[in-house]
């Protein structure tokens, strides 16, 4: 693999204009990645789903070359209907369009850089991979006191031009004081098998609000990894909702640092998996200062041969008194072959805190099904009703009503 990595790396370097310094940075990341390779089961964070095995099995040999000079055609049929929105469109890992038509252009600043260094500590070879191969880092800066009028949808799409390729992309967001951004990541359907590695950095200043909705609903054969690093200032709020249903493999990782007092983080997730899908959510919420709050709710519905995993960690620093941390994961196993794994973790160094977690898994309650059938529903309908009710609980946590309705429509949930 390392030969392939090196030759693809140099191929990309040849086509892009970067300074010597930037080249050295990228080279360092590449070497770090070559040394550690794809994460595997031996690493604690990858214990449940082994990405290196999954890539080997689903894709085989991965190519790392991506031609960023060549533009791709935008298929407008993928656009979300019934919701006015700003757009960023990624096709095959290349930004094809950035459109903030609904916004005051003076309040949003866009830059792109070829320098790909990472400013925080991590132990994750996929971030090394991303930093070595990411073409450009787009930075989006929302100025003080500005709330976007419309949500921003980022489309992630691939077409049949590329296959068995590793795509890396990165976006950095900075939300100025008292600003607000609603961001939807929208993954479209396709059949090509690629490994997509997404890395977002968010920096939330005082009183800023971030709402991030990740929607992976439509069946596709891609393997995806998404990493969100969120830094939060005083009184800021981050809300993340994950719908994890479409890809063959998807791991969402959220690393959230509550640096400012009265900041809070919410992570809600839904797994709805079928045939051979393997998905995971891993969260790390670091409570670093007094009076911070976090809330996590993850629910899974698991069909035949599917597997979901939830690893959630609440870390409370000894300074972080009066922390309120909560974690709940629930799973319904529909088939003999489905599997649910959880590792809800608490690491606490302060005494005046309220932290709790819960995890429950099992099959659908036969009594409830019996009750519904006695009311005239058939078995299938009763089952669906119960599952919908189970999942609706998480969707209802979405604080933006417009987006909540959109997501309900996409999932096909009715109230």
């Amino acid at each position: 693999m390392s030969e392939q990595l090196l030759s693809d790396f140099h191929k990309i370097i040849k086509t892009s204009k970067i300074s010597k310094e930037e080249f050295e940075i990228k080279k360092d990341y590449l070497n770090k990645f070559i040394e550690s390779g794809f994460p595997n089961r031996k690493q604690e964070d990858w214990k449940f789903l082994d990405i290196s095995q999954i890539i080997k099995k689903n894709i085989g040999d991965l190519s790392f070359f991506n031609d960023y000079l060549q533009s791709n055609k935008i298929d407008t049929s993928i656009f979300v209907d019934g919701l006015e929105h700003n757009k960023i469109i990624f096709i095959n890992g290349r930004i094809e369009k950035i459109d903030f038509n609904y916004e005051d252009q003076n309040k949003i600043q866009l830059t792109d850089e070829t320098k790909t260094d990472v400013s925080f500590d991590y132990k994750n070879s996929l971030i090394d991979l991303n930093s070595a191969f990411t073409h450009k880092v787009f930075k989006i800066f929302i100025k003080k006191n500005y709330s976007l009028n419309k949500p921003l949808i980022i489309y992630h799409s691939t077409d049949d031009k590329i296959k068995s390729t590793n795509i890396n992309l990165r976006l950095d967001f900075e939300l100025g004081e008292n600003s607000c951004l609603k961001l939807i990541d929208f993954f479209t359907n396709n059949t090509a098998k690629n490994f997509i590695n997404i890395f977002y950095n968010f920096n939330l200043k005082q009183d800023a609000i971030l709402k991030n909705y990740k929607i992976d609903k439509f069946k596709n054969d891609n393997l995806k990894y998404s990493f969100n690093n969120i830094e939060q200032g005083n009184n800021s709020v981050s809300e993340t909702f994950i719908l994890s249903a479409g890809s063959d493999y998807l791991k969402n990782e959220i690393n959230c640092n509550l640096n400012g007092e009265y900041s809070s983080a919410f992570v809600n997730g839904v797994f709805s998996l079928k045939e051979n899908q393997q998905h995971e959510i891993r969260t790390t919420i670091n409570h670093l200062i007094e009076n911070t709050k976090s809330y996590q709710l993850i629910k899974s519905v698991l069909g035949k041969n599917s597997k979901s995993a939830y690893q959630g960690k609440i870390f409370v620093n000894s300074k972080a008194q009066k922390t309120d941390g909560y974690q709940l994961s629930k799973a319904i196993l529909l088939d003999e072959t489905s599997e649910f794994n959880a590792k809800p973790e608490l690491e606490i160094y302060a005494d005046d805190v309220r932290c709790s977690h819960g995890s429950a898994s099992g099959s659908l309650n036969e009594d409830s099904i019996f009750y519904l059938m006695s009311r005239g529903l058939n078995y299938q309908q009763s089952k669906e009703l119960l599952i919908n009710g189970f999942l609706l609980d998480v969707v209802e946590k979405i604080t933006d009503s417009e987006i909540k309705n959109l997501i309900k429509n996409i999932i096909g949930l009715k109230e």
């Binding site: 003999e336 489905s338 649910f340 794994n341 959880a342 809800p344 608490l346 160094y349 995890s359």
Partner: protein, 480 residues
């Protein structure tokens, strides 16, 4: 000074911290084949036993010491330890208690284990292990009447080789992890219990462990077999003298429950925890594992862990028989610089198996406490269920409390429920107790005992009283 304070005064400096001057026979320092042969030879073991040890040693050479645990410790030099230490007077084994070295008897009296049968009022049969060898077993006559075998491991190897051969290493194989394999290679003594078919053991069986000599590791091995339809309750207590250096304790405990049998295993662990600056103390790296081999069998672990500089153990249940039950009740208390990483594993293999985990952790001072557990329901374990509750209590902001449960559900008929909370003693509760005339320390003692009640209830009566006292004493000086 009221009696409680006196108690505290007496116990503040680890009550069991005395050493006894007894001449010891030691194996040469270090770990090698010769030492293993020496141990085996001095114990007059048959050849199969020596082979078992050597096989384990071969395996050990390939293994690496694990390092994923939370409490880190300085590297142990395994060549700088004595692997065998026995009181000299034991060389010619005493036939009865009267022949025991009076100094040994005195030691046990200090520990509060009167070996003299006549001194026993509550009828607990005791097997006492001093450093590496088992020195005396009480109530033999009574037990023999029921066909119960309760003796030291070395005696069992001589007298009941068939039983030992059949079961030793079946739950914790010699290919297990580093410390378990080390134990398989160099274990010196321990207790052996066999309860025949249909017998309900009429009294509590108990072992008392004590490490006396310095620079010794204690490696005892306990094997308990409950044959069909039998019942046994087994207690274990531990102490060690105060020493500046750290001492290693790596025991293996294997439980085997056949059809309809029940084993209840209770531990009150009070090894020397080191001084308030974290110097010295025991490294308690113990492997305890039970298998519910037969149908409708049950294994229940209860532990009160208040001692040791580092406690690192996970008493586990393998629920292989259909309808078998595994239980784990634990109180772990860490104070000063103590560290604990403890919990359990419940591995569900049979149908309709049930398990329950109740864990209470209390950390104070500069200590660190981790609950780490695994619940694994296999795809064949239809209609199984698990309930886990782990609560942590923190006192002060210099200590840590962590919860790391692993939950694996591969069976859609089965249910797993897990709950965990972390909190501190609320001001309201403290205030209420104080308005009723308790001083702050008594109030904390009362609240903590209430917090632990669910687990303390599981202990046999005499142990429960001792444990309750220990809970209070361990937290001494952590209030305020």
């Amino acid at each position: 000074m009221d009696t409680r304070e006196k108690d505290i005064e007496k116990l503040k400096d680890y009550k069991y911290g005395f050493t006894t001057d007894i001449e010891n026979i030691k194996a040469p320092k270090g770990l090698n084949e010769d030492v293993i042969k020496f141990i085996s030879n001095i114990k007059k073991e048959p050849e199969w036993m020596l082979n078992f040890r050597l096989k384990a040693y071969e395996r050990l050479k390939l293994l690496k010491e694990p390092n994923w645990q939370k409490p880190k410790y300085p590297k142990i030099d395994y060549q700088d330890l004595y692997y065998y230490s026995a009181p000299k007077s034991m060389n010619d084994k005493p036939k009865s208690l009267d022949e025991l070295d009076p100094k040994l008897l005195e030691t046990y009296k200090k520990l509060g284990i009167p070996l003299q049968e006549q001194a026993r009022l509550n009828g607990i049969a005791v097997d006492a292990v001093f450093d590496s060898v088992s020195v005396a077993t009480t109530f033999k006559g009574e037990l023999t009447k029921h066909g119960i075998i309760f003796c030291s491991m070395s005696e069992a190897i001589q007298k009941y080789p068939e039983l030992v051969k059949k079961y030793l290493g079946t739950v914790i194989p010699i290919t297990d992890h580093f410390f378990a394999t080390l134990n398989s290679a160099v274990f010196t003594d321990g207790s052996f219990v066999y309860i025949p078919e249909g017998v309900k053991c009429p009294m509590e069986l108990s072992t008392y462990f004590r490490i006396n000599a310095s620079e010794t590791g204690q490696f005892e091995r306990t094997l308990i077999i409950a044959d069909k339809g039998s019942y046994v309750s087994y207690l274990e207590g531990c102490t060690a003298p105060m020493r500046d250096e750290n001492q290693l304790h790596a025991a293996n405990v294997e439980l085997i429950a056949l059809d309809d049998a029940e084993i209840k295993y209770s531990t009150v662990q009070n090894w020397y925890p080191g001084d308030e600056n974290g110097k010295g103390g025991i490294y308690n790296f113990v492997t305890k594992r039970g298998i519910c081999k037969g149908k409708n069998s049950k294994i229940s672990w209860t532990q009160v862990e208040t001692g040791s500089a580092i406690t690192w153990k996970y008493p586990s249940c393998i629920l292989k028989g259909d309808n078998s039950i595994g239980e784990f009740y634990s109180i772990a208390i860490t104070n000063n610089h103590q560290k604990a990483d403890t919990g359990t594993k419940m591995i569900h293999l049979g149908k309709n198996t049930k398990s329950k985990i109740i864990s209470k952790g209390i950390s104070a001072g500069f200590s660190d406490m981790t609950y780490r557990g695994l619940v694994d329901i296999n795809s064949k374990a239809k209609n199984s269920s698990n309930y886990t509750q782990c609560d942590s209590l923190l006192m002060g902001n210099k200590c840590g409390a962590h919860t790391v449960p692993y939950i694996k559900n591969k069976n859609f008929d089965s249910n797993i429920a897990h709950e965990a909370t972390t909190s501190k003693i609320s001001e309201e509760q403290l205030h209420y107790c104080q308005t009723r005339g308790l001083n702050p320390e008594e109030a904390v003692g009362l609240i903590v005992n209430g917090f632990c009640k669910e687990v303390l209830q599981q202990l046999p009566m005499e142990f429960a009283v001792e444990a309750q006292k220990l809970v209070g004493i361990s937290l001494e000086g952590s209030v305020g």
